[in-house]
Subunit: 242 residues, 2 copies
Amino acid sequence: MRVIRSKPISEQVNTIIRERFRDATYAPGFRLPSESELSKEFGVSRATIRTVFAKLAVEGLILRKQGDGTYVNERIQEVNTHLGGLWDFAHLIERSGFEVSIQPLLIKKVAATEDEAHVLAIDAGIELLSMTRLFSANSQPVILAKNLIPASLLLDQNAEIDGHLRIREILKQYFRQEISFVTTEISSALAGENAHILNIRPRTHLLNLKMIFYSKDNKPLTLGKSYLNDDILKLRLVQAWN
Amino acid sequence: MRVIRSKPISEQVNTIIRERFRDATYAPGFRLPSESELSKEFGVSRATIRTVFAKLAVEGLILRKQGDGTYVNERIQEVNTHLGGLWDFAHLIERSGFEVSIQPLLIKKVAATEDEAHVLAIDAGIELLSMTRLFSANSQPVILAKNLIPASLLLDQNAEIDGHLRIREILKQYFRQEISFVTTEISSALAGENAHILNIRPRTHLLNLKMIFYSKDNKPLTLGKSYLNDDILKLRLVQAWN
DNA sequence: GAGTGGTCTAGACCACGCT
DNA sequence: GCGTGGTCTAGACCACTCA
């Protein structure tokens, strides 16, 4: 693969380096070529290499040591999410080494409750698109997720929504909306009526994720409430220290 | 405050801008001066301003919009951590609007179990420093945390450890160790014998955080097991979408 | 079209770790 | 002392948003 001037150069370099992680050209613990060497290899400036490295470092993929070098993080395999990746359940399941499947359970329009209206900055009673879906890992149900989106934002009110898509795709395709950031509240809960769907005994513990997705113009777009069976799927993440 | 050449300029600028968030010079929703304006104001290059902004954007403090401008995130107040700050319990409690106190319960040396030894990459039976501490929010117990560190790393085997310090300080002061990254596993649990310490009923649900702290040379340094009463303290975090 | 952030370059010097 | 990553500069052009 060579660098082509179309997508940003740093993105292309990023892709190439990630490939080298995958095919073990840069194996775990390996010391990467220095920034200057890589800048020569790719024919780009050192600053470009550094923006790529900055991104990889934030994700915990590489460790940089001043006066020494840059190393491939050996622990990254044990982890299934990172900064900015907590929202994508399908990705989470895949990264945990399972086969994902998304099963739409119920897609319908409902009226917003007081609480939901408050979070979404709309009036109570306004129509919401409610989407309940079950994520499975190796055919074993692990996450029950409900998403609420103001129905008025639908491009086509009569659209048949494909519940197998990832939330990002659904928002893009049926709402033409892009997300700028997400807030997540993580707490624990006891299984109630959701127990049988997740195929667990009532009164066992679950992880509860309450997310709010915000659009580019900083308005709440979607409210998500999810229950995760953490006997099967753990949230494991890396954090860079600084 | 003026920029002085001692600490990195970008850090100084970072500090100044955070001050302006606090004193509402840059209030929530406010549109910041452009990068060029700020670079003039501080007498630094635009690239320097951009490295500052990059950091603030990752933390979710600001939102950048190409062709438009940079805005102060209005939602940041609702949040108490971000994925890079999950390890600092004292900070977490403060950011949630409570008064923190750290109460050391038990500091002693123990022999590593098989499991612990495996995680810390040492042999079973090796002596560990075990530190059990209780974090309170407004005098209400919220987090019970245990940390295990190989005792051989202690600079002074007879040191009296001040259990009121933050883990980062303890590692620095008594072990002369710096952390490069942390992995965290988040799951839910039922309160057992820890219930009375956290002042809750047995069999109620808790958040369970299992952390491993790694040193600069990529070796596991500390194993932390913590229980968090999520009726009082929620984990609320921001994630930038990209 | 004017102004914004996004990308990129080609240099420079500094702080740090090794040997 | 040498090579590494860390910081910084002063430019340039592009992509995008908004009036």
